[in-house]
Symmetry: C2
Amino acid sequence: MALDYSRAGDWILREDSFDPEHLGKCEAVMCLGNGYLGLRSAMEEKYLNETRDLLINGTFNQFDPSAVTELPNAADMTAIELTVNQERFTLEQGNIDFYSRELNIRKAELKREAVWISPKGEQFSLTFRRVVSLDRLHDFAIQVQITPLSNDAEIEIKSGIDGRVTNTGAQHFTEGDMRLYEGKHIQYVQKTTQSGITFALNTAHRFWTEDEELELSAQLHMEVRKIYGIYRTRVKKGETLKIEKYCNVYTTRDLELQGKTVKEMQAFSLEKLKEQKAFGYAKLAADTEAEWNRQVWERVPIKIEGNAYDDFAVHFAQYHMRLMVPAHDNRMNIGAKGLTGEGYRGHCFWDTEIFLLPYYAFTQPETARKLEEYRYLTLPGAHKKAADNGYQGAMFPWESAWMDDGEVTPEFQNADIVTGLLIKVWSGFIEQHITADVAFGVWQYASITGDQDFMDRYGYELILDTARFWASRLEEKNRQIHERVNEQGITEFTETVTKDGFLHICDVVGPDEYKEHKTDNAFTNYLAAWNIRKAIACCQLLKVEKPKLYQTLNEKLELEHWYQEWIQKVDRIFLPAPNEKGILPQDSTYLNLQEIDLSKYKAQDFVGGIFHDYNQTQINQLQVSKQADVLALFFLLEDLFPREVKTATWDYYSERTIHDSSLSLCTHAVLAADMRELEEAYRLFEKSTEIDLGPVMTTSDAGIHAASFGGIWQGAVYGFGGLRTLDGRLRIDPCLPDAWEKLTYEIIWQGQRLEVSVTRGNVRVKNLTKTKIVELKLCKKTVQLEKEVTAEL
Amino acid sequence: MALDYSRAGDWILREDSFDPEHLGKCEAVMCLGNGYLGLRSAMEEKYLNETRDLLINGTFNQFDPSAVTELPNAADMTAIELTVNQERFTLEQGNIDFYSRELNIRKAELKREAVWISPKGEQFSLTFRRVVSLDRLHDFAIQVQITPLSNDAEIEIKSGIDGRVTNTGAQHFTEGDMRLYEGKHIQYVQKTTQSGITFALNTAHRFWTEDEELELSAQLHMEVRKIYGIYRTRVKKGETLKIEKYCNVYTTRDLELQGKTVKEMQAFSLEKLKEQKAFGYAKLAADTEAEWNRQVWERVPIKIEGNAYDDFAVHFAQYHMRLMVPAHDNRMNIGAKGLTGEGYRGHCFWDTEIFLLPYYAFTQPETARKLEEYRYLTLPGAHKKAADNGYQGAMFPWESAWMDDGEVTPEFQNADIVTGLLIKVWSGFIEQHITADVAFGVWQYASITGDQDFMDRYGYELILDTARFWASRLEEKNRQIHERVNEQGITEFTETVTKDGFLHICDVVGPDEYKEHKTDNAFTNYLAAWNIRKAIACCQLLKVEKPKLYQTLNEKLELEHWYQEWIQKVDRIFLPAPNEKGILPQDSTYLNLQEIDLSKYKAQDFVGGIFHDYNQTQINQLQVSKQADVLALFFLLEDLFPREVKTATWDYYSERTIHDSSLSLCTHAVLAADMRELEEAYRLFEKSTEIDLGPVMTTSDAGIHAASFGGIWQGAVYGFGGLRTLDGRLRIDPCLPDAWEKLTYEIIWQGQRLEVSVTRGNVRVKNLTKTKIVELKLCKKTVQLEKEVTAEL
């Protein structure tokens, strides 16, 4: 089975058959949420391989000292177990006469319908609806309608709060306190074991038959980590029982509860539950739909005409980018799987700056600012990481969680097929480009938004502090690392050292994580140099234009000293040059590694297949890339190389890249569009939408691919829409693929809302705000936009 | 569905249909084990409501400071997931043409057979066998045979070690280290989070088609807390693929590993796995069968002729009493659910002394001694509990776990139906008769075995130290506790105090746990007096016969002082007397409480039903008993009251007892036999066998009822077999129920093995050892048994 796009034109993603072998897919892609909480769409009735997640952003907990911190899976409130005439409702037994599950992204509502014939042959019609509120960040609700079609039915409903859920076996909470208030409001209070965050979860139910409300009293059960009621009623054949379950969750980490006691939180959350219960499901759903319109669909319009699936895919990306982003709180960021699964443990990566930030910066600047403020708040951890590694300034963690956690990348994962040992994850130690990516994000945010207040408070400091790290990181010695697996299966490292007058960055992992312990990774070195140059420029600007701020920052960061360092070092950084064929070397060894036939791995519909044949040490010796590396550099610093170099380099690496990362396809798609390889660009764009929406049903099990949703938006708006910010200047240079008739999108450039519409014949840019004249490069010409400007394509 | 006893005559318990709604029953009653480990019989393929437990005795861990310590559920090795021609094997889908699961208790082997028609219509025959070794305590193995009947089949086997299992949501282990050795031996090393016990678990596989061994190489997967291989092979129609999975588990708490490092344990356990793998399933099963014969069936013969079910039920009790008992180690005891489930968290209770000890003492004295030594080893915790409560001597914990844990009864459980609050569990605070039960067990063990060495080393000290507690516990004031629930739902206590010259034991819970905060509970007071009298007798005996030991104990326990206390106090203990109708009052208020109609609760096939209508405070005011209380006293101290009192008291309480405890029916059965109410005795005996074996499919979900198995043996041997030890003397006074033709059993009395055979006409006792003359009361006459003696009935 697969997802069904037949209703894509109505912004509806469908699943048209029940597939117990691939529950993870729809749980993740049909997830609901609001940036505060993510509610995985496991079904109301339970299934064997389900993953039932309720994740609250920022509530990290470390299971034990040997584990890395992760977003804990809070107690479940979505389960509603139904028994009809003594038969347990489960789609795994009996027969299914009709099945449909739909996520309506416009409404952010999940709806599931089934006509089920029980093993004993009785027919029931069921409809399940579920919504997570967007204006009431703590609230969600479920509505179930069940109609016996064959006979009258005794219906038993088992529903409450279940604290037995774990994160792949790790329990992050104390057993917790349970209580029933007024015979009907269930409360469960659980506390994370290490970070000490207390959660209050509340639920209550209402019941109707044929619009008449029933007063069903619960037979209450409290078991270990579990509190639930059993409700029983009789429903006549053809009549409908409607059940509504109201839920909320609050934590002591919530900004609005700071200064409150746990008891106050319990009382407050209970009041809020009663409020929700009083107004009911329909109003919660209607308010949520209105809020989605206000916050997303009316505010960030985009339209692809000519292809309903592509249009849907971009809106679907927007849907998920709203689900994942903590627009309400700058103390947290975006996990690599958003809040849709336990993968990557809720940690954020460079994905935020490179793949997601452009969307928020161009459309919801106040949200983008929060994401960048988070980096500022994590500076203490970055200082610590630098100091721990013998460097200075701010060395950002590869994986980042709560503000003061510092580096949280796990040290080991998976198994080495040759030695049988766990594989060391080197990213947390040597995937260092993240620090330049953060600086790049700061600069990009400020360029797009023109937010000078942010730069004054946080931005300059971040750029200067990261540049201090790079200056301390540069090495006089050109060290080449060699690895060898000894007879005990332990990897041993040796190095050969030369001196050539250049400054090098040795022993790193670049964006292509299939290459470890490499020297002079082009992406890393060029971005480090960019970071230092920006710091030099900031110093010069601040001295002249903001002497007081300069003085403050000088006292904090010793700018006088570092400025000299930067000036002395920046031109000595080794920046790999294209070879005689115009190919930029990814690092000092790549072009000389062994080449192998990669067609097998390119054809595989799962990632990491190459590890079934080679171990990391062996892959390190092969010309194979996991994802864009040099090409990602072209994408960020577009004007660095002439077209010929880009083409030759593109041809070389795209052949050697197996896209084993969700971050790869979109970058390639945008670059292909830049090079006007429109057919290839469209093929890559389509493939990038398929990472989560495609026919392979296992790719989203651990959660959706957050960065790839930024990538889909970039594929449309940066790639075909031609949008780019080039060293602080706006450029629009679009081109439509054959499949599209028209592309329209809106962005906010330094406070001015611009509407861009692209047809095959021309591009028109309108300034909807009209309070400033906007200078932009439209196609190849610089223009001054007052109200509207058009260019032929 | 229900269990099937059609093969009871072959010592086989059957399940004749697959019932996914009641998996817990057979998981528990068909559990395998050896006292070191308990392996719950969850099926190889996974189901939604399964509980997959591997419990290692004594390896307690506390999840967090707010939780009570419990036996952690170790990583699972029993799952073997099969995919046949791309269809997952699960009995929940497709059709079942044949199904049978059998536990053969003679062999201690589990066998499951099925003919399954997949959803696509392909037919497969499957046989699963499983055995836990009895001579190799760490080892178990599974054999799977699968035969495609419709077509050739691609078979995929996913099997390894899964550390994601929890105890009802609580994870007791670190994430752990995984490793594959030599491409085939899987090892998982996990450590308990608080107690720091490291477990090494090992598994490996072998495969055959039609007796030809296959070399299948695993595609290895390591995920969070999970390591497994995927094996694939093709099997021709009609041919059989045989899979054997070998497993073992070791922990750093194992006696034989003391002084060894974790690394040494890893290496040792791996060697042991290879050994098992080399000799294979058939030999492990054959050796296990032989060892069961040696340790249990030949050593502890018992035979009921005339009723195959009853004969089976008693052997089934023996089977489980071998599974639960740590015959290998005196640092642990018997959990209330044995090692068959997570209920009662592996803690031991008075169940050991009162219900289980007689079986072991009469048949396997060296094992019984270990159970009693455990109490000696837990004395430090008993001293601490006494001191914490302001008493002296040894106050034993109501629930006991690892030696130095002390009291481990949880403080709260379930919900109060009136207030919605958690119910406080008072047992750990005031169910104090346990201390006298321990002393009684010591005396009983010594009487039966004549083990003077035990008495010298541990027994006297235990009796004296517990008597010190009771002397300090007695109160001059007669306090009556009154409870009231205030408007906030909080229970408030007040007391009225009088002085009457007697010494009282106020504010306790007796064996009938439906009565809390009672004064002068008959069972408690009489046993406390018994305990003190035994201490006085021990003092007198030691002074004369073992003056050196007396001196040592006097220095340790201040016997000179306490002896005076005991003498002064023992006769002043208030011992409730029968009322004018000959009814012994359970406590100072029972006979005046409100009476209600209990027929509803007596008819219920589940326990605790009364709590759906009344809360604890209300039940405290009703004439309803959970279990034998005064009657249990009659059972232990048989000669305390004349027959008329016994009969009147029996009539009164048995009407008011709803047997909401598994400890109740067997006591009643034995007493009914004592009173020659044979029909009633047999009815109660049958009901006591049904606690785990009966038709109600949910009673064993959290594990079997350990004490009730002791109770079944007692029902047969004490009840109908007439065996008893009365203040140190042996009595045999049997009577057969109509359903039985003959009962034969063997016991060891003070080193002499006696064979007792009872027919309806007579009883014959043979001394098989014949090294001593045994004095016993046979029926009503005292006889001196040299070789054989017979009495008419």
